[in-house]
Amino acid sequence: MCASVKYNIRGPALIPRMKTKHRIYYVSLFSIVLLGLIATGMFQFWPHSIESSSDWSVEKRSVRDVPVVRLPADSPVPERGDLSCRMHTCFDVYRCGFNPKNKIKVYIYSLKKYVDELGVPVSNTISREYNELLTAISDSDYYTDDISRACLFVPSIDVLNQNTLRIKETAQALAQLSRWDRGTNHVLFNMLPGGPPDYNTALDVPRDRALLAGGGFSTWTYRQGYDVSIPVYSPLSAEVDLPEKGPGPRRYFLLSSQMAIHPEYREDLEALQARHGESVLVLDKCSNLSEGVRSVRTRCHKHQVFDYPQVLQEATFCVVLRGARLGQAVLSDVLHAGCVPVVIADSYVLPFSEVLDWKRASVVVPEEKMSEVYSILQSIPQRQIEEMQRQARWFWEAYFQSIKAIALATLQIINDRIYPYAALSYEEWNDPPTVKWGSVSNPLFLPLIPPQSQGFTAIVLTYDRVESLFRVITEVSKVPSLSKLLVVWNNQNKNPPEESLWPKIRVPLKVVRTAENKLSNRFFPYDEIETEAVLAIDDDIIMLTSDELQFGYEVWREFPDRLVGYPGRLHLWDHEMNKWKYESEWTNEVSMVLTGAAFYHKVTPRKKFKCPECTAIDGLSLDQTHMVERSECINKFASVFGTMPLKVVEHRADPVLYKDDFPEKLKSFPNIGSL
């Protein structure tokens, strides 16, 4: 672009030599030629972009203008669908290939309008929800517009509601998709399967090997590990804003809000209401409302009118009873209201049951036990109910609240199957954010005392205090469990002393040179560290006895998940300054140890400095500025971690017989604590 501007500036420089009328003539001629060339150039160049994204020019077009595809009556129909399909038999993982991000690529077919030979449409072109769903996929990281790189294909043929389509013709439309190949790697989204009279629990459209993300599976039709069970989206939930209501007892213990319930079940519910009075509320549709009132948003009990879904927030438990279909949109409304769903629908596969732990958010009651439902619910402790209420609301927020949430959860589940080593964990799927933030996952959760024979690696960080360093090396080498000594030479301007000058010790000694003088080099995971236990020790810590270091190692063995060190430090909340400060005198509490001398596990993330066990040596004398700097540091870290991860303790570890009235020579660690 810059170059062209320059040229045009030079152009007029030629012109002043011409006569004025010629100049006008040439300028206009030049402009015309320029415009013409731009126009032709445009024409030449647009078609290239149409090839790469076929929908470019149809952006902002109407759904009514999409191309029409006429299906011949004898065009092929896919097989019905194979109940024995599993990922390893019916899914072609080769198409997903190697993917460094462990993310599948999803392609969406462009929208077409399908008609039969007589020109009668096969279905409504697309519903609002399916359009939203495809938009969500298209906006996500999964999307690719390159059909040859895709691993999963989403037809734009809308099968969300089986009642709005012609089954055979829809199947024919599927079969003529360019990459159909018996439906391999295709996924169909359906929320309302089956139709009268027998209401199948899975979509009736023949689909061969295609995956079905279905909203009403029973255990008989659900192909475990292949299909995905999804919720029946409730458009009402998106329309109505129900602010989160804290957990706790609510006005009604049990509520039924569904309008179409089989008469037998309604009798059962009404019997419950008769038996338990006020605490049970069974609602029905309003029969005597004037025409203007929308029946979807109201429910009635006798002559009392209730707003729906607001009334759900008044109940602790809400019945989600099967209709002719197993999947019910009311489940979404109930979760939205933070009401614990009581699912009474035998063999129903709950939404996303492959990853969601429904035990934490719902109660499943067999249809046979409907009359006992009240006593079953009453046996649940209040604390668990509150937990479930919170969990129900969280499920709605994360996986039910929008078509987008449903679409992305479905793709994530399929993605997790294809890249199992990168799959989301149970906790990531199920724990609400408050729990995720509050909890600490101990990286060494297995209670295990490592064998003493393993020993530890000592790391000495040094700059140029060679004399002091050699003393530390000699002292540390006397510790029986030392297995290797690593010196981190942090001075780039000076070479470490010659090999012959180093003290001769019984364990291997390695010197590592660093690229930059940083104190944190001490915590670098050097390849030379072969033991789990690491002792970080400064080159001036010479007052620790061999017994003290050996005992420190013993303490680490019993607490391998903790940082075990010597001089104790305490962090305190300074009320005047309103921040954390750092205290280092003889105090009764400890929350940190200095890493001037400390044992830790080589893999443990260093942020879990939890409870140090300390023996009674205070090594460093620190002046006032030192303390101020460290206090600043604590505040910085606390804000980075989002919380104060340090925990205060009032104990330290000593040998069993420490300073007991007992013969010294019989003690394992006699030489401890003698300053």
Partner: protein, 670 residues
């Protein structure tokens, strides 16, 4: 003329330049991302009339479709709701009756029977039971054991076989559930059948071999992969990414490798197990060895998959993408490897290491189905100590247990209940009550009066409520989950215990840091007596200890539930007969759960000199008590006790600073 030429020259020049510009322009457009051109919409179009589209389920449609009687389940297939009659199980939950088996029993079957009989769900009468268990015997000739008389179409029956295909054509299963080893994915009915592990012939009845993991992270020299061999045994392979060790095609460039004999456990970080059927045995070996199983498209259901979250301990990968799997294993972050390794060991130890554990886990799964809402939460199944040791009868809320505080980010209730057991002499421990009531953390004092003498009518005035309960004159009384206990922490005391308020305060503070462990003052140590070939223990002061005396110890009240509900009756009776046994039993129990030693806190010398009887039986335990530890070890199937070499002291304990600075100064009184 000249000007015309110049003009045409100039025109041609500018025209050609423009053409060049137009050719270059599209390239520029591609090269500059994020500009107005690059953001040209690709993918799903934004329709002009998107707002006008119809909803997939117009309001009013949903309600009409439901006036149809729900149809019955299809086919002869069974699921839990359809084929198990929960109403047969009363309020007590599961009761299991085993149909008597005709014919000679193999050792393996006798082990299964013994395991069921040791379960708290066992019932001797078929009328009382709601689950009838039928042992499917493996008969070499392929004959099937005849059906029992009360078969009843298989309703509420469980056919249990520790082998994959116990009988050629699974006789008339009817509505019976099947629990068998490594069922194929195609025949397994999730939520109804139970998948068992494929156990080796000589699997021990109880206890079982511990996991092989000695350290948390893999040893640096250990190979990355071990591959399960067709004939049994393992082959380890190098870490070269070009090697595809389970694929014959690249046989020639295999890395350095070794073949290990059958029966030996693999020593590698990951264990590759092909998906064929017999490899289920390899799976268990890998688990025991702490070698992370990598299952390549397994055709069999993983054991106890209904409750165990295998994604935390194993990797189920697609065998069609070997290079990708290999790359993923090599790039796996060390923290993930660490977590997977630890989980294999936990699962092995909690559910698989003995026949008893496998059988009890099976029954626990069925009990969970019966319980419905009050079953084990997933966390209890999938983190230490496991569902067999975390009982839902105590609570269904994980935060009530002592094991999950860290995971849940919660804390135990900040106070304790003192439980004072008054045995034979029947003297009210007035001094002790005063000392304990003086603690700021004490919530209540409970006196369990187990003496023949009636309790005195009047008790001292204390700052905290004091309740006297009537005991049943048995030593194990003190570990009954009394309803009156209102706090998580219990301070268990004897009438003749002697403590100061300061000691109690400090010990409680330590307990709050380790709520799953016992925190005590007086300790014993166990040892293996080579001369007698048996276990022994000593009360002598030593550099190590493995037990704390329950006559003065803090622990979580959950251990009362565990003591009463999971310990075999024989062991509890033993404890009642020899009073020192009860200490050993409680220590065994806590150690078996935590796999860690108890914690010792300082104890004033003045008590030791004043009250020698606190150490029962003097320095050396009497022979009867000595025998006790061996009987306990036999009852548990192994020795759970772990020794510790440290004591937790207050931070400034016996430090050369002014006593006035110290918070627990009375602990240092000579």
């Amino acid at each position: 003329m000249q000007s015309w030429r110049r003009k045409s020259l100039w025109l041609a020049l500018s025209a050609s330049w423009l053409l060049v510009l137009l050719r270059v322009f599209p390239l520029l457009r591609l090269a500059v991302p994020g500009g107005p051109w690059a953001s040209a919409p690709q993918g799903w179009p934004r329709w002009l009339d998107a707002e006008l589209l119809q909803s997939f389920s117009p309001p009013g449609e949903l309600p009409e479709d439901a006036l149809q009687l729900p149809h019955a389940p299809r086919g002869g297939s069974c699921n839990w709701e359809a084929c198990f009659d929960v109403s047969k199980c009363g309020a007590g939950g599961l009761k299991v009756f085993v149909h008597p088996v005709a014919g000679p029993l193999s050792a393996a079957h006798r082990r299964i029977l013994a395991s069921i009989e040791s379960s708290r769900y066992h019932s001797a009468s078929p009328d009382e039971a709601c689950l009838l268990l039928f042992l499917s015997l493996e008969v070499p000739a392929g004959e099937c054991s005849p059906l029992p008389q009360q078969w009843n179409g298989g309703r509420n029956h469980l056919v249990l076989g520790l082998h994959p295909a116990p009988c050629p054509q699974n006789f008339q299963l009817g509505q019976a559930m099947v629990a068998k080893a490594s069922p194929t994915v195609d025949t397994f009915r999730p939520g109804f059948d139970v998948a068992l592990p494929l156990l080796p012939e000589a699997h021990p009845l109880r206890g079982g071999a511990p996991g092989q993991l000695r350290q948390h992270s893999p040893h640096p020299g250990v190979p990355l992969l071990a591959l399960a061999e067709e004939r049994g045994g393992w082959r380890t392979a190098g870490t070269d990414p070009s090697v595809c060790p389970w694929d014959g095609r690249c046989e020639q460039d295999r890395g350095p490798e070794k073949t290990h004999p059958e029966g030996a456990l693999p020593n590698a970080t990951f264990c590759l197990i092909p998906g064929h059927h017999p490899d289920a045995l390899h799976f268990l070996q890998a688990l025991q060895a702490g070698c992370i199983p990598v299952l390549l498209s397994p055709r069999w259901e993983l054991p106890f998959s209904e409750v165990i979250d295998w994604t935390k301990a194993a990797i189920v990968a697609d065998k069609r993408l070997p290079l990708q799997v290999l790359a993923a294993l090599q790039e796996m972050p060390p923290t993930r490897v660490l977590a997977l390794r630890q989980q294999t060991q936990f699962l092995w130890d909690a559910y698989f290491s003995s026949v008893e554990k496998v059988v009890h886990t099976t029954l626990e799964i069925i009990q969970d189905r019966i319980f419905g809402a009050s079953a084990h939460p997933s966390l209890l199944w999938n983190s230490p100590p496991g569902a067999l040791l975390a009982l839902p009868i105590f609570s269904t809320s994980p935060s009530d247990f002592p094991f999950y505080y860290l995971q849940l980010g919660s804390h135990p209730v900040g106070r304790f209940s003192a439980l004072i057991w008054v045995g034979a002499p029947g003297q009210p421990p007035l001094k002790l009550i005063q000392a304990v009531a003086g603690s700021q953390h004490c919530a209540q004092i409970l006196v369990l009066w187990s003496s023949e003498k009636p309790p005195p009518p009047r008790w001292p005035e204390t700052a905290v409520p004091l309740t006297v309960m009537d005991g049943q004159r048995k030593v194990s009384d003190r570990f009954v989950p009394h309803r009156a206990i209102s706090t998580d922490a219990i301070l268990s005391l004897d009438a003749h215990s002697s403590l100061t308020t300061s000691e109690v305060d400090f010990a409680f503070l330590v307990w709050q840091s380790f709520p799953e462990r016992m925190v005590g003052f007086l300790t014993w140590n166990h040892f293996w007596d080579e001369a007698q070939g048996s276990w022994g223990y000593t009360a002598e002061r030593a550099n190590e200890f493995s037990m704390v005396l329950t006559s003065a110890a803090f622990y979580h009240r959950y251990y009362h539930t565990l003591f009463t509900h999971t310990l075999p009756k024989a062991l509890r009776t033993l404890a009642d007969e020899a009073p020192t046994c009860v200490d050993i039993l409680m220590n065994f129990l806590v150690a078996a759960v935590t796999k860690l030693p108890p914690i010792k806190v300082p104890y004033g010398k003045q008590h030791l000199e004043a009250r020698p009887p606190l150490v029962p039986g003097g320095r050396e335990p009497p022979p009867a008590a000595r025998d006790c530890i061996n009987q306990m070890a036999a009852g548990f199937g192994y020795m759970p006790l772990v020794s510790s070499r440290l004591r937790l002291d207050p931070v400034l304990f016996k430090d050369p600073v002014s006593v006035l600075r110290k918070k627990y100064r009375s602990l240092e009184k000579p």
